[in-house]
Symmetry: C2
Subunit: 452 residues, 2 copies
């Protein structure tokens, strides 16, 4: 025992000296301590990571689900540090990720840092081409701070817009008022609209967004003609509904988006088109989470991860998204192999190596989504994404989407994500998150942690 212990210390110090295994994040906080990691039965380090949904998996509303703590105890060492890369992905977007990380830390009694949290808006960090544009934002919470944190610099909120041009906001009779002064000559044209999450007073937000689109960014000037295509609209979180304490699910941001799309269509006769639609089940969100898992893995001294296990409660959001991303990854694997073969052939033939454009694999994603991801190379990403459905949230097997008491005949996916029913089928189903983690350990043949 003593020998093992002293050996552990010696190896540990050497390991520390050699690979600098204690790394600080931007804020000087310890992220991971790589002294302990999970190992498989054949003696290798594990090469998987976890992606957890939050609502319906770890908590419901504000209440911690009973199985959550047990699940996470399996993933941490005796110092409370993660032994395997873990990301929390939520479609919430009304708080800063630091705050969500703190909430998770409090719920689970584990240190969760901001870099482990992917909010619905997080992938917008990659959309650098919009960061200098004058944007109109909607949502609740600290939207300006969130936007700045993502890299945006010229931000107008709905409240500011209606204060400058009160004639635009007429539905509420009690809030009607004259304009403070003539802002028209000073107010710069709005160049893009970002919808972070469900706002308050949908009538105001719907009106101002549609005004902005129809007027090409100057809602105080009657347009000579309606511009089409309209300016860029980036939206985060397309969840139509979510489970809270009520007996039936509540409206999510997807309901707001649906109202916006259908009103824009009715008023202008044209379809509203998103430049970016992020948040589960968008592949962009999984791509972003994948990259963060890779960073964690590197910090832990791993080469990367091969498999992501996605645990969620919503078949049409979590499971669908995970399966969609898996499909995307499979195509990349095929494409990468083809490239390797091509390169080998070219080298053999003596011709110059031609770089195959990797964006061929991204042909299923629209061009904006593709370009947002161009700066990351293929090797960074996982090879597969496995979906696990738990029964503690939206889905409950005894009632088949019981939230309405019977199998729904309606499609609750967003219009732009055509539902392929096959993709809502999870790879695995477990009662709760604890069972899900145990299942993964079993599948991956994980044994007790190996002390390096």
């Amino acid at each position: 025992m003593a020998t093992i212990a002293s050996n552990s210390v010696r190896i540990s110090r050497t390991f520390s000296a050699r690979v600098g295994n204690i790394l600080n994040n931007r804020n000087g906080r310890l992220i991971h301590h790589t002294k302990r990691y999970l190992k498989t039965q054949d003696g290798k380090r594990v090469d998987f990571g976890f992606l957890f949904d939050i609502d319906g998996v770890i908590v419901r509303g504000k209440k911690l689900l009973p199985s959550a703590k047990d699940a996470f105890r399996m993933l941490i060492d005796e110092n409370g540090k993660f032994k395997v890369p873990v990301i929390f992905v939520t479609n919430a977007g009304n708080t800063l990720r630091q705050k969500k990380a703190k909430a998770l830390s409090d719920w689970l009694d584990i240190e969760v840092v901001a870099e482990q949290v992917v909010m619905s808006h997080s992938p917008l960090k990659m959309f650098k081409q919009f960061h200098d544009k004058h944007i109109l934002v909607s949502g609740q919470g600290p939207v300006v701070e969130i936007a700045k944190g993502l890299g945006f610099s010229q931000i107008t909120t709905m409240d500011t817009l209606r204060q400058c041009f009160p004639h635009l906001d007429m539905v509420d009779h009690n809030r009607r008022k004259p304009a403070p002064c003539a802002f028209e000559q000073f107010f710069p044209r709005i160049e893009a609209v970002i919808l972070f999450g469900e706002p308050v007073r949908w009538e105001t937000n719907l009106q101002l967004v549609i005004d902005t689109l129809l007027s090409d960014g100057k809602p105080y000037v009657a347009p000579k003609e309606i511009p089409y295509p309209h300016m860029p609209v980036l939206a985060c979180n397309m969840d139509l509904l979510w489970m809270a304490e009520a007996c039936m699910p509540r409206f999510g941001h997807g309901c707001f988006l649906h109202s916006l799309e259908s009103l824009y269509q009715k008023i202008s006769g044209r379809e509203l088109k998103y430049t970016a639609l992020v948040g589960k089940p968008s592949e962009l969100t999984y791509r972003h989470a994948d990259f963060l898992l890779y960073e964690q893995a590197r910090n832990m001294g791993m080469n990367g991860i091969k498999t992501i296990y996605c645990i969620g409660d919503n078949p049409e959001s979590d499971i669908y998204g995970a399966n969609l991303y898996d499909k995307y990854l499979q195509k990349r694997v095929i494409h990468t192999n083809v490239n390797v073969i091509k390169r080998t052939q070219q080298q053999t033939a003596g011709s110059q190596i031609i770089d195959v454009d990797e964006t061929d694999t991204d042909s299923d994603l629209d061009s904006e989504r593709t370009s947002a991801l161009k700066d990351n190379s293929a090797e960074v990403y996982a090879k597969s994404c496995q979906s696990i459905l738990v029964c503690t949230g939206v889905y409950c097997s005894s009632r088949d989407y019981v939230t309405y008491g019977r199998a729904r005949s309606s499609n609750h996916n967003h219009r732009d994500f055509v539902l392929d029913p096959v993709l809502t089928q999870p790879k695995f189903v477990t009662q709760n998150v604890h069972e899900a983690v145990k299942l993964v350990f079993q599948k991956e043949k994980v044994i007790s942690p190996f002390v390096s």
Copy 2:
């Protein structure tokens, strides 16, 4: 002169004695003074009445349009009393009609009484089968008072519902709160939903209405299955947009209804169907106004009216509605004539007279709309309805629905009123309401008032 004057007085007294020409309305207020009335060139009393839209014809926002006073001076005698039946029809529904009558009186410097005002909800008075039901209401202003004035007796507002069941209203994070107590056992089932006008906080209203429909009136109980058809929904005012001070039109109640329909469709997979949709251009509103014009005419000592002149600024609401009603009236005229011929034939043949069901004529109206009007006989109504478009509101000929700077390719009519473009064409177009009244006088060959 003196002789005419004294004769006038004598005839007037006689006339008063004979027909009781000073009649009081329900509140003891003088409605009409029938001493003076309009006459045509062939010496007969006129047999037409006016139906005026308000916004865009008489006022814009809160500002009186320049031509309005001149127009109404032509319609009143020297005592400021109307010489011809006049009704004001508005799709507004957020005030009591007494208040709207007072506003008109102040604007025009003429006494306008409540009985001359048709709000979007006024026809609901005819829907007696709902008056004893427990209704959920939405809208702004004194909705409870409005509902009671129409005959409803069991009324719950959105605010009351969300106070009893706060878990239902979750979009606004700052308003979330626990339930005060368990109201479920006490709260009676909701039996119908009435949408009076655009509410404030659409997210709350949309959520609660949809909850009510999906749960068959008990939104605090998860339904075993979704009822369909859903409970009755009665909506007032389907105007998609309206002209206010802003350079582009503002959302009307039609936008709220459109959001509701499309969300209900998305969530349940089914179409939301209205039991009643009142307000222009619904024939129910014109029918109701027609009946009120008849009452006024009788009070003035006329037999009734033959022609209604409808003056409005919105082709897809005012003009469309007037033309639609005219079409309905023409069918009734034909049908009535056919009945007369049939009866004559039957009498000649010696067979028993069979009553022809007048509702055959109403086959274009749905059954609820038909049954609401059964208690009024055919003789009460006008024979034709002529639409006159003015250029002081939504429509402006120089820009062809300029509110968007070009001819719209979209259909702004409500889904249930399929747009027949022919029916949006007015019979006449004039610059403003004064020109419209002059046109009618010219057409009807009206001369100076004859003193009875």
